[in-house]
């Protein structure tokens, strides 16, 4: 079996194992076997167990799964486009921009079922456009300045988010807190279905552009001369990565470091070909988020940590080691 299939199997096994443990773990202990039966044979376990597993824990695991999957792919996409392993939706400010867009729709009272996702997408697209323009007015996308512009924009977006939160009534404040640090607590099946469909579709578009990502990440001029329309491909890929980020932010707020760390770890395992990286990063991202959520719920139980805190604890050391490796 090749290194790719071994890695994919390991990531898949980790995801399944973490999901089963997550379904079994919580205030009420449910044996793993019962949790499994509650999902696939609900008549064989008691009604309370079925409710806990199917209505409370399973949507949460599914949300973590989708969020991790999408964040890893968005990060991978940004890294390939900018040819920089330090790029991600979080470091480029796209997550903060999406959160800002989403909160703005709520603060300014824009109603409608798709208002918040639309606001998030507009925020994400506007952010990446601003960051790229600021980084290089001539659109040559110099990578280091793009990352710097992203970091600066993240600070600005967070300041604007804080400003908006001061406009919100104190009793509503708690519900807005998650835009900053992310949470899977508000997961519900009604939202998960459409979001899974969107993320699935975007993943397919990304897979269809994996070779384009390879060529662009080698060298844009080389990509052009082997027949790739670089401008068109970049527009599609920036759009996909921004949409993935906006979707995730709508579902779970801003969660950092997944998009940064997962593609890098996947690259260490299977090399740089995006056709192998995309499936591996997606599965690994999902596994990481399910495990992070499990840790967030259990470390200080019965209190719950924001999941962004857990991913930061994992992500910061990896980020630092990446910086050190680049500095050498």
């Amino acid at each position: 079996m090749s290194r790719f299939w071994v890695s994919l199997t390991v990531a898949g096994a980790l995801l399944v194992a973490a999901s089963i443990v997550s379904l079994a773990t919580g205030a009420a202990h449910v044996p793993a076997g019962d949790a499994f039966r509650a999902l696939f044979d609900p008549s064989s376990v008691d009604a309370t167990t079925v409710t806990i597993v199917r209505s409370i824990r399973a949507p949460r695991v599914a949300t973590a799964c989708i969020v991790g999957w999408a964040l890893a792919l968005a990060g991978l996409c940004f890294q390939s486009l900018l040819r920089n392993p330090l790029a991600s939706e979080y470091t480029l400010g796209v997550s903060s921009g999406a959160a800002l867009g989403a909160v703005a729709t709520a603060v300014f009272g824009i109603a409608g079922a798709v208002a918040v996702p639309t606001g998030a997408f507009v925020g994400a697209i506007a952010t990446i456009a601003i960051v790229l323009v600021v980084a290089h007015a001539s659109f040559s996308f110099e990578t280091t300045s793009t990352i710097l512009a992203g970091i600066i924009f993240t600070s600005l977006a967070n300041a604007l988010l804080s400003l908006m939160l001061t406009l919100i009534a104190p009793d509503e404040l708690q519900s807005f807190f998650f835009w900053f640090l992310g949470s899977f607590a508000s997961a519900e099946w009604g939202m998960i279905g459409p979001v899974a469909a969107v993320v699935g579709l975007l993943s397919l578009v990304l897979m269809g552009h994996a070779w384009h990502m390879n060529a662009i990440s080698v060298n844009e001029e080389l990509a052009e001369q082997v027949g790739i329309s670089v401008t068109r491909s970049k527009l599609v890929l920036y759009g996909v990565a921004s949409l993935l980020t906006a979707t995730v932010v709508t579902l779970a707020g801003t969660i950092g470091f997944v998009g940064l760390v997962v593609p890098h770890v996947a690259r260490l395992a299977v090399g740089v070909d995006n056709r192998r990286l995309i499936p591996l990063a997606a599965l690994s991202g999902a596994a990481l988020c399910v495990m992070s959520d499990l840790a967030a719920r259990t470390i200080l139980a019965p209190n719950e940590l924001p999941v962004g805190v857990v991913t930061a604890f994992i992500g910061v050391p990896v980020f630092v080691s990446l910086m050190r490796r680049r500095g050498r």
């Binding site: 390879n214 060529a215 080698v218 001029e221 080389l222 001369q225 082997v226 027949g227 090399g271």
Partner: protein, 247 residues
Amino acid sequence: MNVVALRNVSFAYNGARIVDDLSFGVEAGAFVGLVGPNGAGKTTILRLMQGLLRPSSGNVELEERDLASFHRNEIALRIAGVWQRPPLAFGFTAKELVLLGRTPHLGLMKWETPHDHEIAEEVMRQTETLHLAERTAMQMSAGELQRVFIASALAQRSRILLLDEPTSFLDLRQAARLSKIIGDLMRCGMTIVCASHDLALIRRHASKVIVIRSGRLHYEGSPDDALERARLAEAFGMQQEDWYHEE
């Protein structure tokens, strides 16, 4: 027939005119040498010929059709290039870089077939890079990387090859090998345009030499005429007594 032709092509960047009202044609099966001082615009001319840059005025023709009317993939099926490149960010292996040259021949989902692998290995044998297949750019010398990019261009199986200083990082043996590859390609009917300071390479293969100075056509003619010492000294702005190059 001219397979590539520049017609009154000018190219300006940030107000500076890099190519100035340039016209010349490249016949099918010819080897055209582009010679001129650093900064004369040779690389820009090659980029214009491949459609990587658009002329500010005038036009480039490919097979007697305006190059701008071709889709990128159609150009890639006809023209390959070997360029001097900036460092590469991620650790693509030599084999992966060579396979990128197969891009214009791949289907919609861009998955390479065993045939593409065969071609990649064949051109890697030709350029003596097969033993580097699993090495990344970081693990190769500049010369090895240059040979990998030559292999990638050959894998493209185009009819026109643009070379920008192809021997700049090559040792004697590899430069001689490249010269042999060029000879083989020409016998198969390949059209080659080569910008180089390697006058021995140009003398050996060129059917026509174009001398460029400050983006303008300085001289166009046979290698013997164009590479004559006085003419080159004039084009490069040097005294004949400073000449040290062997004839």
